[in-house]
Amino acid sequence: MSENRASENPDREHAVAFTLNGEAVRARVPARMHLGDLLRGAFGLTGVHLGCEHGVCGACTILVDGRAVRACLMLGVQADGTRVETVEGLTESGRIRDLQDAFHTRNALQCGYCTPGMLVTAAELLAEGEEAGDVPSRDVIRAAISGNYCRCTGYHAIVDAVAVTAQARHAARREVAE
């Protein structure tokens, strides 16, 4: 059994190269390591939180090629050639500053563990809304963030924060258009 295990060697490393928060990076990653562990371990991006490692809770949500993805459900090797963004990158670029401000003002977070994943999911929803030119309703927001569990807040303030950000962005777009 152990020989068999050795021949499969789950720790065999593979070279990957991808864009991480706007920078070109390279890493050697064991075959079995998921992307969440790679980002946390090799790159110190501890804003990627691991809550269940079953793809359910959403705490590890990141953007891969612009789409919200569970970092725990993707292997590190699969990041090769992709564009990965985490809450750290979204913060530094300023792209979600308004959303973060709204979360802060409305106390849409308590322990903060679900928060990075929640922000990433909300960012994706807001981006979709911008493309479609509409403002998501509270029900649409609730549905969109249902893959991100929060045990602290009761969700109400999170919905408030996303809604107010969507409205503000929509108003800003209209102003530009007019």
Binding site: N107, G112, I145, V159
Partner: protein, 794 residues
């Protein structure tokens, strides 16, 4: 409430932050992904531990072969129960004030017998968690399965084997309370209602799993423990005791904690083992529970069966309550708080809002081969509230009274305080009548009833449910200390004024997201007169904060907050004394506002704090003779006049039940709550909402399922359901304010009120919706099959 501070109360001080919706200063860091949770702490030479856990509910360990595992790649050590017991002594989870409470010695790693699915009995430390898990698979164990005590209903039967032979049977604790003339009251009652209520096991599901990193620096003789935990000083004391270390050799640091809810305030075998392994291996060792381990080994809660009846007069007065509570707590009473507290609270709290005088309750706490249960958010409250509120609704139905009317009639009147409840609890000042009135208006009750009636004609089944409740907050030593537990009920705050006029406040209450650091900053800023953005708060470190209990039982604001208030006032007095000496002014004529010493009457600035700081710290030679500034002040606080500060509230739920599928849709939810002085409405309201949603989880979704052999059937988030955003309603929160006179701030706790009342409101609403069908539910979680069963459809 204090009238000092220059004739102004804290509420109308010019720069008061109290009562304002101030965002939490420490939240920005969390919003940018820069929190530091235990698993984010980087340490050199780190070993990762994984535990081999029992696959059986009850079994003897016949043999354990570790040689192959020890030879696996990356493995640092494989350690068994007997090996670990050489450096970590066992514990017994009993307390002196729970007379008769029994448990058995529990080891960090089980020695020769495992007693629940998930109990750890062997450790592998390796260079990565993955390698440690690889090695776990190479350990060969021979078990002899033993009969498992799975069903609490039969745990006390004579032919059920005792889990711990030395105890003789499986009864851990029994309490009987008999007040007044219960039998006579039932005999003379016009109406008697009864029901048996079931409360499923559930657990906290903190998004950050339990985690601990123990680092033994032999050269310093110092064990530094990074812990996702609520009570660092308690952990320090217990580590000292069981690892035979002096107090100064253990430092417990709790930085960011990703949710706790009472889960992270208990002593867990795997966490104790991790610290012992660090000592044994003389290197840092980290344990982070994975989600399966969390479901298997985090404490569970509830798991009660309550049979109860309520007697009424013909006019609808509650005359008496008689109840019997049975709860299964797993194989051990959890250390050091014990697993008898929830049942004890059910006895203390059931019917607490009401003025009946006759009350009898029996609680039996039994051992079983399932995960240990212990205190989880709103300990006992949702059970007590459901029992009383369920019976009140049954009584209202039988008497033809409106649910609001029967409650208005029976609650202890707002002008009757102070008084005692039937169970003997001392109540300082509650506001049930005001809360009911506010709720009725807030939810537009009459219009909602009209809507319900209209929709019912169209075959849409909506229900309205109410739940009045009381909550235990601000516990004194009566909770644990009197029973011999070394758990601090007093807390402290140390405040330092720095040269530029900034403040550093260190507090012994801890932060797990409630906003502890935020409200401490508000209070300190208000008390000292320093702008809030110049206040830094330190918490969660046994080495740098005053000694205290931490945050649990809704005590952070009421106890830690008052310590901070008193410390702030003391520092301010010190500041004006020195300023007075420099300015040759009477200190009583000076105040500190917005970071400057000002004239009390006119508000005219006399000296900025930065100037005062410059003189005090860098030119003390220029101070008047005999002036020794003390710009550090420490104060401690513990409530002394009442064992607990009870709070009250009332919730309402509006639901729609699909009578074909059994699904329940939550439409709206309201809560009126009285936590005394509201320090920060923004934080309190979302605390209440979060508590409500956790209560909804227990009422509708969350359930740790075991089969008849004691095997855990659901161990992932995919099959243990927690509330999702799309299922939750918007929740309206309002307050009545009855400040406690025990402290100057007058703040009571608010952390558990939501969870206390939500399940009863939801279940009563479901039963209101089902009423035309002659069906009712009484078993939580009320999953669709429970509804369909009640409707006779399955």
């Amino acid at each position: 409430m204090s009238a000092e501070m220059g004739g102004l109360t804290f509420l109308d001080r010019p720069n008061s932050y109290i009562g304002r919706s101030v965002p939490r200063p420490n939240a920005r860091r969390l919003l940018e992904g820069r929190g530091v949770y235990v698993d984010d702490v980087a340490v050199a030479r780190l070993g990762h531990v994984a535990y081999l856990r029992s696959p059986h509910a009850h079994a003897r360990i016949l043999s354990l072969e570790t040689a192959e595992a020890k030879a696996m790649p990356g493995v640092i050590a494989v350690v068994t129960g007997p090996e670990l017991a050489a450096i970590c002594t066992p514990w017994v989870g009993v307390l002196g004030h729970f007379k008769g409470l029994r448990s058995a010695p529990q080891h960090a790693l089980a020695i020769d017998r495992v007693t629940w699915v998930g109990e750890p009995f062997c450790a592998v430390v390796a260079r990565s968690r993955a390698e440690a898990e690889d090695a776990l698979a190479a350990i060969a164990v021979a078990f002899e399965p033993l009969p498992a005590v799975a069903d609490m209903e039969t745990a006390l039967d004579p032919d059920t084997p005792a889990i711990h032979a030395d105890l003789g049977d499986n009864l851990a604790f029994e309490r009987v309370l008999d007040v007044g003339e219960v039998d006579a009251a039932f005999r003379d009652a016009a109406v008697v209602v009864e029901e048996t209520f079931g409360f499923g096991r559930h657990t906290g599901v903190c998004l950050e799993p339990r985690a601990i990193l123990a680092d033994w620096a032999a050269a310093d003789g110092m064990l530094t423990v990074h812990h996702s935990f609520q009570a660092p000083h308690m952990m320090q004391d217990i580590l000292c005791k069981h690892l035979a270390l002096p107090e100064g050799a253990v430092r417990v640091i709790c930085k960011d904690v990703g949710g706790s809810f009472g889960i992270k305030v208990h002593i867990y075998p795997d966490e104790m083992a991790t610290c012992a392994l660090a000592l044994m291996l003389k290197r840092p060792v980290k344990f982070v529970a994975d989600r399966l381990e969390s479901f298997q080994s985090d404490i569970h809660a509830r798991d009660h069966r309550v049979s109860a009846r309520m007697a009424f007069s013909a006019e609808g007065d509650i005359l008496a309550i008689d109840m019997d509570d049975l709860t299964g707590i797993g194989p051990y009473s959890v250390y050091p708080r014990t697993s008898a507290v929830e049942a004890n609270q059910v006895v203390n709290l059931t019917g607490g809002p009401y003025k009946h005088q006759h009350y009898r309750a029996r609680a039996r706490v039994v051992l079983q081969n399932k995960a240990p249960t212990c205190q989880y958010r709103a300990v006992g409250h949702p059970i007590a509230t459901m029992v009383a509120e369920g019976l009140v609704d049954l009584g209202a139905e039988k008497l033809g009274l409106d649910p609001f009317g029967i409650r208005e009639r029976n609650v202890i009147p707002d002008d009757a305080y102070p008084c005692a409840g039937a169970s003997g609890i001392k109540l300082e000042k509650l506001s049930h009548q005001a809360a009911l009135a506010k709720l009725k208006q807030m939810m537009d009750y009459d219009a909602l009833r009209a809507e319900q009636a209209t929709l019912r004609e169209r075959g849409i089944h909506r229900g309205i449910g109410l739940a009045a409740f009381i909550e235990i907050t601000n516990p004194s030593a009566a909770f644990y200390g009197v029973g011999g537990a070394r758990i601090s009920s007093q807390d402290g705050c140390t405040i330092r004024l720095d040269p530029q006029g900034g403040i550093v406040a260190s507090v012994s209450v801890t932060e797990q997201g409630q906003g502890t650091e935020g409200i401490i900053a508000q209070i300190v800023a208000t008390a000292t007169g320093v702008p809030m953005d110049k206040v830094r708060v330190i918490s969660g470190d046994t080495q740098t904060t005053p000694y205290g209990g931490g945050t649990w039982a809704s005590r952070g604001a009421g106890i830690g907050g008052e310590a901070a208030w008193q410390a702030g006032k003391a520092l301010r007095a010190n500041v004006v004394a020195v300023a007075g000496a420099i300015l040759q002014a009477d200190p009583a004529s000076l105040d500190v506002r917005e970071g400057a010493v000002v004239d009390m009457q006119t508000g005219t600035e006399r000296m900025p704090l930065a100037e005062l700081g410059r003189i005090v710290y860098f030119r003390p030679d220029t101070l008047p003779p005999g002036v020794q500034p003390e710009f550090v002040a420490t104060r401690h606080y513990v409530p002394k006049d009442y064992p607990f500060a009870f709070t009250n509230g009332v919730q309402a739920s509006y639901v729609e039940v699909d009578v074909e599928t059994g699904f329940v849709r939550l439409l709206r939810h309201w809560c009126v709550e009285d936590c005394g002085t509201v320090l920060n409405p923004l934080l309190v309201d979302e605390q209440i909402r979060g508590g409500i949603v956790q209560g909804i989880g227990g009422a509708l979704f969350e359930h740790c399922l075991y089969d008849a052999q004691g095997q855990l059937l659901n161990g992932s988030m995919a099959d243990y359901l927690v509330p999702m955003a799309c299922e939750m309603p918007d929740i309206e929160v309002a307050h009545v304010v009855s400040a406690t006179a025990s402290s100057e701030l007058g703040a009571k706790g608010a952390g558990e009120a939501g969870t206390a009342g939500a399940p009863a409101a939801i279940v009563n609403a479901i039963n209101d919706a089902l009423r035309p069908h002659g069906a009712r539910v009484s078993r939580q979680p009320v999953t669709p099959d429970v509804v369909l069963e009640a409707l006779g459809l399955i």
